[in-house]
């Protein structure tokens, strides 16, 4: 496989793996974040603080923890998921869940409470009022998703420990940059870095445009 084909392959894999991880994390992250943002309950601040703190989890540590879980002798070893793209998706989803939850909950929380009151005075039910609030927070939620994706595609520790950086199977942009740097291929490492940044910038700009369009 030529170098160009390999670069396209690892870039595509990085986008697919991190994109899937973002979708997966949003499946449970958004509901949790929205609930945290809308409802008031005992211990709410504790839960919020918990997710906030987890945002700072070092990727290499999470990679190690999840490796011990998915390794053959580990509790989920029977699934034989180690060194596959699927386990990388799961791992990155776990990594970015705190971000998705924290950003979603603070954006929902920050919606002007007048919106909810207005909806209620206009005759809306509790649920309908909540939906009105959510509609106002779509752009914030979109930001939460894109930030989660950025963190996923840019992380190294989880992808490396769970995926193994295997050529043709689990190699992604960050693991390639690490490998080529170790090999002394500094220029290639920089080229891959540029590609990674390009992808992130392009995606962020696209989402920005969509947000602008939506709010017009």
């Amino acid at each position: 496989m030529s170098l160009e084909t390999e670069i396209i392959e690892i870039s595509a894999r990085a986008i697919i793996v991190s994109g899937s991880a973002t979708l997966l994390a949003s499946l449970w992250g958004l509901p949790i974040g929205i609930t945290l943002g809308l409802k008031r309950f005992r211990g709410r601040n504790l839960v919020k603080g918990f997710f906030n703190a987890l945002m700072g989890m070092p990727t290499v540590s999470l990679g190690l923890i999840l490796y011990l879980v998915f390794s053959r002798v580990g509790p989920l070893g029977f699934l034989h998921l180690l060194y596959t793209p699927l386990v990388m998706i799961i791992g990155q989803a776990v990594l970015i869940t705190p971000i998705a939850v924290s950003l979603t909950s603070s954006t929902v929380e920050s919606i002007d409470p007048d919106i909810r009151d207005l909806a209620r005075t206009l005759g809306a039910s509790e649920t309908q009022a909540s939906l009105a609030v959510l509609r106002e927070s779509t752009s914030g939620v979109l930001l939460a998703l894109i930030t989660s994706f950025d963190r996923a595609i840019a992380e190294l520790g989880v992808a490396l420990m769970l995926g193994g950086n295997i050529r043709g199977v689990t190699r992604v942009l960050t693991t390639s940059i690490a490998l080529e740097t170790t090999r002394g291929e500094l220029l290639l490492g920089m080229a891959l870095t540029a590609i990674l940044l390009l992808i992130v910038f392009a995606l962020n700009t696209l989402v920005n445009l969509i947000q602008r369009r939506a709010s017009v």
Binding site: I166, L179, E185
Partner: protein, 317 residues
């Protein structure tokens, strides 16, 4: 509906159903970084996979962690270069069928102006000079400090000249990089320090003008670097792909495999990065290198003592 089923089945194929549906099996080999980073294993992988229905997955991490992965059931075989650890691996019941596949030499490298005046000396004399110069504040030493094969060899040489690892590492001129060979070389370059390097990484970095360090002490017995392959014991872990591991080991020591190993890099570096081990051990059994290999990398006078040979005595004819 159609798009979702297409995308789901496409994803399922992409995520690993594909290769195995084609009748190929998976062989996970955890390996030392010095073999992988030179690109040798990629070349071997291409040639092997073209001939056999086996997909090799190389996990390149360092000899010690390579053995941990194998012990935890995440690898079917290992490629390492740390004979003392390999013996423990065999005796712990984790591995069988050890074959020596290649050798080369480590090198003590240092700054061009050679502050320790160590050039041309034997490795032990060179290190003594480096210790003296270090203690006088004239130079530094950079160690891998990561339990890699290179690091284990370094500790062995320190022991030969009477230095305990845990003591010498406390001295001010002694640095530990805790990282791979490449970055360690860059640190040594930056600090005008000496270090122990495997030849493959050193030549690559030198050729790419990333370092100006020169070889101070070369092909001596104390610097011999022997690479071995060991299959994970299927009694210990019944799930390993044992047959594929044996097939790959046989390929590595076959004439074709040994030729790939000894030819690798010749066109770029005008010298071999790795030497074939099967030849000196079998044919030139009396050569100096064969003697050194037997002294340093044999256990109980053999490549692999009988009780660890499993059912594959044919590997050792």
């Amino acid at each position: 509906m159609l798009t979702s089923s297409v995308s789901i089945s496409g994803t399922a194929y992409y995520f690993g159903v594909g290769p195995f549906a084609r009748g190929r099996t998976k062989l996970v080999v955890s390996t030392t970084t010095s073999l992988y980073d030179t690109g040798l294993l990629d070349t071997i992988e291409d040639q092997f996979e073209a001939e056999y229905p086996i997909d090799i997955y190389f996990i390149s991490a360092g000899s010690s962690i390579a053995m941990r992965y194998a012990e935890r059931g995440d690898a079917d075989m290992i490629l390492v270069h740390a004979p003392s650890e390999e013996l423990a691996f065999l005796e712990g019941g984790y591995g069988v069928c050890r074959k020596i596949i290649a050798y080369n030499f480590f090198a003590i490298v240092g700054p061009g102006n050679d502050p320790a005046k160590a050039e041309g000396l034997s490795p032990t004399q060179a290190l003594m000079r480096i210790v003296e110069a270090g203690r006088k504040g004239e130079t530094f030493w950079v160690s891998r400090g990561d339990d890699s094969g290179t690091h284990i060899k370094e500790k062995d040489i320190w022991a030969i000249i009477g230095f305990k690892w845990n003591e010498i590492r406390q001295e001010g001129w002694f640095m530990e990089s805790g990282t791979g060979m490449g970055k360690t070389l860059l640190i040594a370059e930056e600090k005008s320090a000496y270090t122990l390097a495997d030849l493959g990484t050193y030549l690559k970095y030198s050729r790419d003008n990333l370092i100006t360090l020169a070889i101070v002490s070369g092909e001596r017995k104390e610097l011999l670097n022997v690479y071995s392959a060991i299959a994970v014991n299927r009694t210990y872990n019944p799930e390993v792909n044992f047959e594929a591991a044996i097939t790959f080991i046989k390929f590595l020591v076959s004439e074709k495999g040994q030729r790939i190993i000894s030819q690798f890099g010749r066109d770029i570096y005008q010298q071999s990065l790795f030497y074939s081990a099967a030849q000196p051990l079998k044919q030139n059994a009396d050569s100096q290198v064969a003697g050194w290999i037997r002294e340093i990398a044999y256990f109980e006078g053999k490549e692999c003592p009988e009780r660890f040979q499993d059912d594959h005595k044919e590997l050792y004819d």
